[in-house]
Amino acid sequence: MNFEVPIGPQHPIHVEPLMLRLKVEGELIVDADVDVSYIHRGIEKALELRPYIQGLYLVERICGICNAAQSLCYCLNVEQLLGKEAPPRARYLRIVVEELSRIHSHLLWLGHYLHTLGFETLFMYFWRDRERVMDMLELITGNRVTTAYNTIGGVRRDLPPGAEQKLRRTLDYIEERVRYYEKVIDSEPTILARTQRVGILKPGDAVRMGVTGPHLRASGIKHDVRLDDPYSGHDEIPFNVITWDTCDCYARVKVRLRETSECVNMIRYALDHMPSGDYRLKIPPFFKAPPGESLSRVEAPRGELVHYSISDGGDRPYRYRVRTPTLANLLSVVEMLRSRGDYEVYIADVPAILGGIDPCICCSARILITDEAKKRRMITTLDDIIRFSRGRRVERR
């Protein structure tokens, strides 16, 4: 007998509003449907209404955790429109902050993932160590979370005196801890039992679905925007692209752990080879961008982040489009949740599979989903919105 089990939009396994409809036969999941359109925030429209300098701070708030990547992508986009490039020192400083926030994001995810698996002890340790990284971000940028570090034409402040030694000490600490955690995760039977051979995504499926970031690399495909399309001096800094070919949730944990140590090495290299000179171009706060369009790509902690803008020659973008990594990765959840052949997915695996893609729903809620199975398309017209705002129920057409 078939049942439909709804998970979300409010559910303890995931704090963000995501709706998963699972079709189950007993404990076995046979089909799934995913809906993210609960928190549409209208950020793209809001960006069209304000000057470039104000948009910079709005873009940071698309996602709190990858705010450094978001603002970097925005700055690269606007710099491309203006035909300017940040000075070499700014590019290296951008890498330092970007990689620091990647360490912070990965440690946060690892802790949170173990928390969803029910391993609270390691969750506490991960978040304790993450706090050291947050202190470093605060020291360099002036704030723990929303860094407001990148600006159009460079970065907003230089490395403060004495920061380099503190940063190096923190990096040593993080490197040692990550090595220790890898040993723990490799030997802990509870973690292995919940992650190995769970949520398998084959490389072919991953490419077909346009999966990005650590999630794609955990399927064994060597793809990284920092390597394929170096955007901020990444071609000068050597690093390894971490891949793992077991394609399951365990691979996702391993890839992110190894990437954390890779970030440490990248920051060390950037500090060793830090160029001298200016850290920002002199660009007035208000300017008009020449007409044209530009596209920028950044490897955010969760995957490939794409910003696209059109300028009509004014002081604000004519159109701004953001494609966040979670939107690309979310579709693969449906594929991973579907049992087929000897690959069986149970309801208890849902937190492990959903958590494995590092979902950040509030970044991605900017589409309406078409539900082909029920022949129901959710297109909301202006009249519907007006009716909805007057408190009447909107008919779905």
């Binding site: 300098i53 002036g142 407001a148 030997s187 208000f286």
Partner: protein, 116 residues
């Protein structure tokens, strides 16, 4: 190799280590270290202001309002709308605006959250 309880040694070590958290609101306030350049509550030096209104124009959160007083046009900062980006402090030509280290921005009256 599967070895259960590898964390036991770490847990025992943590027993004798210094606490990672700070007993923040009531005790150990001296352990709260804020770095130089921390972006806290806005401080405004009214005597330095020349009334150029640049801060008002750049503010992404619309936390700044311009009012007329005896000296001309001067800004008012609504802290409860501020997002602490420090863009106003950056563009200020006379450095009349600065970011202090005050991070506890809680008040019972709305007027306490306004910097003039």
């Amino acid at each position: 190799m599967k070895v259960p309880g590898r964390l036991v040694a770490e847990a025992l070590k943590s027993l004798f280590r210094r606490r990672a958290t700070i007993l923040y609101p009531y005790r150990e306030l001296d352990k709260v270290h804020l770095p130089e350049g921390f972006r806290g509550r806005i401080e405004f030096d009214r005597s330095k202001c020349i009334g150029c209104q640049l801060c008002f124009r750049v503010c992404p959160a619309k936390a700044i309002e311009i009012v007329d007083d005896e000296k001309g046009k001067r800004p008012i900062f609504y802290i409860y709308r501020c997002i602490y980006c420090a863009q106003c402090a950056e563009v200020c030509p006379t450095k009349a605006i600065s970011m202090s280290k005050i991070f506890e921005n809680i008040a019972l009256r709305k007027e306490d959250m306004v910097v003039r």
